[in-house]
């Protein structure tokens, strides 16, 4: 009898009925593999791991319900239609029937993905949770060359650029950016939107090379969905801050590729214009339907004008500051962290040199409350502005120097953001090699290795907090001089250590008392208690004489079940590996220091 024999006339049961291999699924749906793949990507269907792989271990299994889900999707028919249509077009082309071809191309079947978005993400939070990949992909495509004849349509890339800028504008506007990290792969950002932490990666603003070892069809299918998703997410987000979507941008700024700045201005202008656009709508409702259209048109142009007019004053220095203050009044109910982020660069004015990555900094600095300008057309203020406190430069030497401002490298901004304090600029000045840039995503304590600079930052943070809280009067004075903070921080630390020690002892005693009380309540015999107490007191003396310390550990493993023991061993191996890594780091550091001394 074969292994999975099923008598004739009996239905399949269990895993054989529940799961279906990919080949069978493709045959079942009567589509080609390519279409199946697209369907799976768009519908978000993935293979599953059955408990028992009936048809072999090396096959991919889909759940039958998932396949039925595809089977009933109208998209399936749409894809078939598209295939049939492509055949017709091809035929017309082969017959040189230009007229028919044109007509057919006009009537190409189209599909929309909004239904799929709502199906896959029934709530907005669901969509936000899955947004990481979406944002990374859209940002990557936004950085690809938008050239005709490449494998990706130019329209696509422009759309990606637009979407990514819209997203960034929202994040920047709501000050929900939390962490940033410049890595070799690009710049990581982490934002918090509606309580969800969303992390994405943007490639460095350099020309990306399209590689050949990649199937762009797959990526484009993903992108197709992601574009739709991000469009809806952006709509919802803009809606939540009462801004019209899609935004209408200043063509001038758009032309000089400062879309992000244009968007920021648009959003800033919007809440005030909302009162403007409410008026024509009501009049339209009152009047005849014929007039409505006219009204709509005029309304739109009016709106446009109003926007531009509102944007105009922002060209003057200080107008942006005004905007920031403006927004303060609106949202009182923002949480502490947002407030902290918002006020980080509150009193600073930045100017970007030509060579620094403008897009990244234009996004990041306003997100933390700073005013920023750059060298070029359309910038809000000039380099010669007196109010500029920091100029971001990334060059070996700086020719002309304004004494009133500090010339720092871009890393300073990112480090400040991660530390949430204004770091001393000394080490970040022009021409110096900046201190190591550390990842904000790593929990140093859990990892077991704290880099030196992380400790420095921690001390500074502690110092800043300590000082800010009790003495608000001195705040301004001290903020400008972070070096004093550092010293103070160190002094504070030693004090804090002492107090902590005392506190711990007290806690210990208290705890012991409570434990004893509890035991008494439970009615545990005094003898055993005594025994225990004795043990604990004579602990050290006895243990040395009777048992070596490592033995009991070995023994307790004996009574574990096999499963637990294996797990335990695996975990131990993992810990060992971690320890080795940390050890390696320490070793390398020692070597580096030694070589430096030599």
């Amino acid at each position: 009898m074969p292994k999975h024999h099923r008598p004739a006339g009996k239905k399949k049961e269990g895993n054989a009925a529940k799961y279906i291999t990919r080949t069978r699924a493709v045959n079942y749906l009567q589509v080609s593999l390519a279409i199946f793949r697209r369907l799976c990507i768009l519908k978000g269907i993935f293979p599953r791991e059955p408990k028992k792989k009936v048809e072999g271990n090396h096959k991919t299994y889909y759940h039958m319900k998932d396949i039925m889900f595809l089977f009933h999707d109208p998209l399936l028919q749409k894809f078939r239609d598209i295939k049939a249509h492509a055949k017709k077009v091809k035929k017309a082309k082969a017959q040189k029937n230009k007229d028919l071809e044109d007509r057919l191309l006009d009537r190409a079947p189209k599909y929309k993905l909004d239904r799929l978005v709502s199906e896959r993400y029934p709530t907005f939070i669901d969509a936000l949770r899955d947004l990481d990949d979406c944002l990374t992909m859209v940002h990557l495509f936004a950085a690809l060359p938008a050239a005709e004849g490449e494998r990706i349509q130019v329209q696509r890339i422009h759309n990606c650029r637009r979407l990514s800028h819209e997203w960034q504008a929202y994040i920047s506007r709501t000050h929900s950016l939390r962490k940033t990290f410049i890595s070799v792969k690009g710049i990581y950002y982490q934002a918090e939107v509606e309580g969800q932490k969303i992390t994405w990666l943007t490639p460095h603003a350099l020309q990306q090379v399209l590689t050949d070892d990649v199937d762009f069809n797959v990526m484009i299918t993903f992108l197709e969905f992601y574009e739709t998703l991000l469009g809806f997410v952006n709509f919802k987000l803009y809606h939540s801050i009462n801004v019209k979507y899609p935004p209408i941008l200043d063509p001038l700024l758009e032309a000089i590729a400062a879309e992000l700045y244009a968007l920021c201005r648009y959003i800033a202008a919007q809440p005030r214009t909302s009162s403007v656009d409410s008026l024509p709508i009501t009049s339209g409702e009152d009047g005849q339907p014929g007039l409505e259209k006219l009204d709509m048109q005029t309304e739109e142009s009016e709106l446009r004008l109003a926007q531009l007019q509102h944007q105009l004053p922002t060209n003057e220095p200080g107008a942006l500051m005004h905007l920031v203050e403006d927004s303060k009044a609106e949202d009182e109910d923002i949480d502490v962290e947002t407030k902290e982020c918002k006020n980080l660069f509150k009193n600073f004015k930045f100017f970007l040199s030509r060579e620094v990555p403008r897009e990244a900094l234009l996004f990041v600095i306003p997100a933390f409350g700073g005013a920023v300008s750059w060298e070029g057309d359309g910038s809000p203020f000039r380099e010669s502005d007196d109010g500029i406190t920091h100029q971001i430069v990334d060059r070996p030497t700086q020719g002309h120097i304004f004494l009133s401002r500090e010339y720092v490298q871009p890393q300073w901004i990112f480090d400040c953001i991660n530390a949430r304090i204004i770091l001393p600029t000394e080490e970040y000045l022009v021409g110096r090699i900046p201190p190591p840039h550390l990842s904000p995503f790593v929990d140093n304590e859990a990892e077991g290795y704290v880099p030196e600079y992380a400790e420095t930052i921690k001390r500074l943070q502690a110092a800043a907090k300590k000082k800010v809280l009790p003495m608000p009067g001195l705040e301004n004075q001290d903020l400008n001089d972070p070096q004093t903070l550092l010293v103070k921080g160190i002094v504070d630390r030693t004090e804090a250590n002492e107090t902590a020690e005392k506190k711990r002892k007290l806690m210990m005693l208290e705890k012991q008392f409570h434990d004893e009380l509890n035991m008494e309540l439970q009615g545990i015999a005094y003898s055993s208690l005594k025994n225990k107490n004795l043990d604990s007191t004579v602990d050290n003396a006895k243990e040395d004489t009777i048992t070596p310390t490592e033995e009991p550990e070995d023994l307790s493993q004996l009574t574990m079940s096999r499963k637990k023991r294996k797990l335990y061993e695996a975990m131990k191996i993992g810990q060992e590996r971690k320890k080795d890594k940390v050890k390696l780091l320490h070793e390398r550091k020692k070597n580096a220091e030694a070589s430096k001394k030599d």
Partner: protein
């Protein structure tokens, strides 16, 4: 030229003849009639063709004048002709030839146009005859082929007919036209050599003359050879000019009547129109392009209605998020994150999957950071993961591994237990295979493979007695009764029941009595069957010798000290034997045994009996004489068994180093199997009689001590806590600890090693 002159003369002559005729008749009508009669149309044609009247007109001025006059008259209607012609003749009849030419011109009605054009031409340029001729030939080319008069007058007959003749045809006067004298080859060659233009000359067979081709003709020939049109001026691909004026012509080309279908509306057209109308009405057909709908809108209105906002179908497993970047991915990591060159080189030796995917690098400033070359590839890989990787929910355990360990009571609470080696008993010269402790706790017996059995005083480690039994000792056991210090020793096939003489005086007598064997009693049995065991008096040791058929491995005493059992593994149906010491009687109660027996033990309190085969333990009720239980050990080869003094728990040790704890009330399967402690065979397992302790000894030179607490509450499972690993024995010939026994009253453990030492571990 000369030719045409000649012919014109001929024509002159002819016309003169005719004119004479005319004058003779004297009337125009008659002339007309005469003309009709006499002049064959051929001749007229030829005359016209030759154009001779005009040639003649060329000669004298008057004729040409006249002609122009007649031409003017010709433009009048044809009725005038009749009247006009006599008048003309009446006016100037001096030149008949002129008159004739006029007439002939008038007569040829059909070729009116030709004559007209002709006369004009002659009027314009009458000096240059050659020009005139060529012009004519061009005009008349379609009417006749042979316009050039040929010398040959034979007509279109094969030249062969004249091959023999000297002439070729006749001239008009009837004289023979002579052929030209043939040049022979040399002559013609010489002529050719002198003449530079010889190559252009062609001999015309028909006319018998040499023709020199003009330059134009040569060119023409060249063009024809190349497959082009002869005239260079001809454009073969000239745009087609439709000379017919189609428009505004009153008459159609075809005179057929218009068909009916031109006047009634088309049925098929109407059908098509109807179809279109329907399509438009039903909305299949749309004329304006569909409006661009807003592609984004508020998709998620409010999330408050939880029921609607549930995802349908199977549970959604979100894809795991990609790992966040660590310090080493920084563009400017601290020095310790950057691997040295040696480390990078060593990565090459690693397996592909172990090799780190990312090697940290350090850039001194942000402007030096290049584009990441794997950006697209990594995103693509992520895409593949998203749609190709099977997803399952896996519980990720993020706990301290120490928490996995069972919560065992502190070892200090479980004291006392043997932990340190307190005494060593030295004296044996071979591996000590077996030991046994007297129930009083004072004496220990040991058997070794050096062939001696020793009895030691436990507290002093002094060897009291030594018996040399001559063969390797398999097993030694004390009688469990304290007043009967009898030792049973299995040596090869024999079992010795030995009096140790350690008892006090009154007991000594009893022992002596017990160990007395009457030979006659035994003889009796011999008659019937082959005896299983022979009870023989052994004088050397003052003991009883039980002679078995096969080697005896283990002996176990019943708690009352009268019965004992021996196991003969190769004894088949008589493998387990029961002996009664008081009656010196032996019987084998188990006729049928499933599996090879390894050991057999009595229950410590009840009348039960445990036989362990290699894989199972059978529990017999001795009173009911049947199997009570079968314990499934799941082991490969059981080596030892021990019963808890309470009687409900059994431990079984095996040769693969595993130990099973059976709770017989619970199940026939092990309550707990300890698998990983011993590396080699377990040689013995033992329970303590009083303390909740048990131990196992193994060939890997270790003995383990466990706390094994059995609770009287049936709901509470036994508590097993490993307490101590006892080391100290040395391995000899791959063997370690061969036996372990507890002291009957103290928490002490004795271990017998293959290194011929017995050790005592105390608390």
């Amino acid at each position: 030229m000369g030719k045409s002159q000649k012919s014109s003369k001929e024509v002159d002559e002819l016309s003169k003849e005719i004119s004479r005729d005319v004058t003779a008749n004297g009337s125009t009508e008659g002339i007309n009639e005469k003309d009709d009669r006499f002049q064959p149309s051929d001749l007229v044609d030829s005359l016209e063709d030759e154009g001779s009247p005009y040639d003649s007109g060329e000669d004298d001025q008057d004729a040409s004048d006249y002609k122009s006059h007649s031409n003017a008259e010709e433009s009048d209607s044809s009725e005038d002709e009749v009247q006009g012609s006599p008048y003309d003749s009446g006016e100037d009849d001096q030149d008949a030839s002129d008159y004739k030419s006029l007439r002939s011109a008038e007569e040829s009605d059909s070729s009116e146009d030709e004559v007209q054009g002709f006369s004009y031409d002659s009027g314009e340029d009458d000096q240059d005859a050659s020009d005139y001729k060529s012009h004519r030939s061009a005009e008349e080319s379609d009417s006749s082929e042979d316009e050039v008069p040929s010398r040959n007058t034979v007509g279109d007959v094969p030249l062969e007919w004249y091959k023999e003749e000297e002439h070729i045809g006749y001239d008009i006067t009837g004289k023979k036209i002579k052929k030209r004298a043939r040049k022979d080859r040399i002559e013609s060659f010489l002529a050719g050599v002198d003449d530079a233009k010889n190559w252009r000359k062609i001999y015309d067979d028909y006319n018998d003359e040499e023709v020199e081709l003009t330059k134009e003709e040569v060119k023409m020939i060249h063009r024809m050879l190349r497959g082009k049109t002869p005239h260079a001026g001809v454009d073969p691909y000239a745009p087609y000019v439709d000379w017919f004026e189609w428009e505004d012509k009153g008459h159609p080309l075809s005179n057929a009547p218009e068909p009916k279908r031109r006047f009634i509306p088309s049925k098929w057209e109407q059908k098509k129109v109807v179809r279109y109308i329907r399509a438009i009405r039903k909305g299949f057909l749309k004329f304006d392009k569909p409006k661009e709908e807003p592609h984004v809108y508020l998709l998620w209105g409010d999330d408050s209605t939880a029921a609607e906002n549930k995802r349908h179908g199977l549970s959604y497993i979100p894809a795991p998020k990609p790992k966040l970047a660590g310090h080493e991915e920084s563009y400017n990591p601290s020095v310790e994150f950057i691997p040295t060159q040696e480390e990078i080189n060593s990565y090459q030796l690693m397996l592909e999957e172990d090799r780190p995917k990312f090697i940290p690098r350090r850039f001194e400033s942000l402007r030096n950071v290049p584009a990441y070359e794997n950006a697209i590839k990594e995103t693509f890989d992520r895409c593949l993961d998203l749609y190709l990787c099977p997803r399952t929910r896996k519980k990720r355990i993020n706990i301290d591994p120490e928490s996995l360990k069972p919560k065992l009571p502190s070892l200090k609470d479980l004291r006392p237990y043997p932990s340190t080696c307190y005494l060593e008993y030295r004296g044996h010269t071979g591996p000590v295979k077996t030991i046994s402790i007297d129930i009083s706790g004072q004496w220990m017996a040991s058997g070794s493979s050096d062939g001696t059995v020793r009895v030691w005083e436990i507290e002093t480690s002094r060897c009291i007695k030594v018996w040399d039994v001559g063969e390797a000792v398999n097993h030694v056991t004390w009688n469990p009764l304290p007043e009967l210090p009898i030792l049973s020793i299995s040596v090869g096939r024999d079992v010795l029941i030995l009096d140790t003489r350690l008892a006090n005086a009154e007991n000594q007598a009893r022992v002596k009595e017990l160990l007395h064997v009457e030979e006659s009693l035994l003889e009796e049995d011999e008659g019937n069957t082959t005896p299983v065991v022979r009870w023989v008096r052994d004088d050397k040791y003052d003991a009883i010798r039980l002679k078995h058929l096969k080697a005896v491995t283990t002996i176990d005493w019943h708690r009352k000290g009268d019965y004992f059992t021996t196991v003969v593994p190769s004894g088949h149906t008589r493998a387990i034997l029961m002996h009664q010491l008081s009656k010196k009687h032996t019987h084998s109660p188990f006729q049928k045994l499933r599996g090879l027996p390894v050991t057999a033990v009595f229950h410590p309190t009840r009348s039960m009996f445990f036989i362990s085969t290699k894989t199972h333990v059978w529990v017999y009720d001795l009173l009911k004489q049947k199997v009570v239980k079968k314990l499934e050990t799941g082991l490969q080869e059981v080596s030892s068994i021990s019963i808890h003094p309470g009687g409900d728990n059994v431990i079984v040790g095996s040769k693969e180093g595993k130990m099973c704890w059976f709770d017989m009330d619970l199940s026939s399967k092990p309550y707990k199997t300890l698998t990983s402690h011993h590396m080699k065979d377990i040689t013995n397992v033992a329970f303590h009689r009083l303390y909740p302790l048990f131990a196992s000894s193994s060939e890997d030179c270790t003995a383990y001590v466990f706390h094994g607490m059995v609770y009287s509450d049936l709901n509470q499972n036994p508590l097993i806590v490993p307490l101590k690993i006892l080391r100290g024995h040395n391995s000899s010939k791959g063997r370690g600890v061969l036996d372990c026994k507890f002291h009957p009253r103290q928490p002490w453990l004795f271990t017998a090693g293959a290194d011929s030492i017995i050790k005592l571990y105390c608390h």
